[in-house]
């Protein structure tokens, strides 16, 4: 699923990385616990999280995750955006809950990691 499609499915908004919306997300992972995210070795994941702090972007950087969707209308801060732009990570937001956003994306065909 392209990131453009992700944004469309969840009434989303792109905060940074507008030039990368043709990227493909091969699977999704929803979590607010960063060490759980770091157990994943898969490529091209979409991280769905409510953790709107710089550590979510750092975790994505360490795990080579190129796209993050923040749920519940959480807004990335300036330092998060700066780090994401430096690393080429796309940041998106959705007004939906994690359950709804994950459900909509799963229904639309985004595969789970497990």
């Amino acid at each position: 699923m392209t990131l453009k499609e992700v944004v469309s499915h969840v009434n989303g908004n792109v905060v940074c990385g507008e030039g990368f919306l043709d990227r493909q997300a091969q699977a999704g992972f929803a979590s607010d616990l960063m060490s759980d995210v770091l157990t994943l070795m898969d490529e091209d994941l979409l991280l769905i999280t409510g953790l709107a702090n710089i550590q979510s972007v750092r975790t994505a950087e360490m795990a080579d995750i190129g796209q993050i969707l923040y749920v519940r209308n959480k807004k990335p801060t300036k330092d998060m955006i700066a780090l994401a732009e430096e690393q080429g990570i796309v940041l998106m937001t959705t007004p939906f809950s994690m359950f709804k956003a994950s459900g909509l994306l799963f229904q639309a065909g985004l595969q789970p990691v497990y």
Binding site: M34, S35, M41, L51, Q55, E61, M62, D64
Partner: protein
């Protein structure tokens, strides 16, 4: 690199800098990922749980060595600490997204050797090694 206790705003910076250096040295991406995850987990542990410490990364012909040490307070029961899901993280730390209790486990799963020396009211010293070749993969050139 020095790590300051409680300085979550900079947590990951040391790991990020080392990641950039390893990329510039053309180290294999799979090796970099393993090193970086082990390093980041160690870095966060020092910041979250210790009085402060430091992390050093060295490249030798066989692979990459990571040395992490702190000024205490030490891990009282290491076997318990290594158990998946066990965490001593405070509520404040959990609100930041840490405290899953997977840190030491993630370190162990990403390195080829792990040696931890610690104890109650003692500094903790961790040595990790990630080999350039492991599980029968072909050799990669070192930087």
């Amino acid at each position: 690199m020095e790590l300051t206790a409680g300085d979550f705003s900079h947590a990951g910076q040391a790991s990020s800098q080392i990641k950039q250096m390893l990329k510039q040295l053309n180290i294999a991406p799979q090796v970099i990922k393993r090193v970086v995850i082990a390093l980041y987990e160690a870095e966060v542990n020092v910041i979250a749980h210790s009085y402060g410490g430091k992390v050093t990364c060295r490249i030798n012909p066989e692979g990459i060595e990571i040395h992490v040490s702190d000024q205490g307070p030490g891990i009282e029961d290491l076997d318990l600490a290594m158990t998946d899901g066990f965490s001593t993280a405070s509520e404040e730390i959990r609100e930041m997204g840490f405290g899953a209790g997977m840190g030491l486990s993630n370190m162990k799963n990403n390195v080829d050797s792990l040696d931890i020396s610690t104890g109650k009211d003692s500094p903790t010293k961790i040595y990790m090694h990630v080999a350039f070749t492991s599980q029968g993969e072909t050799d990669h050139e070192t930087g």
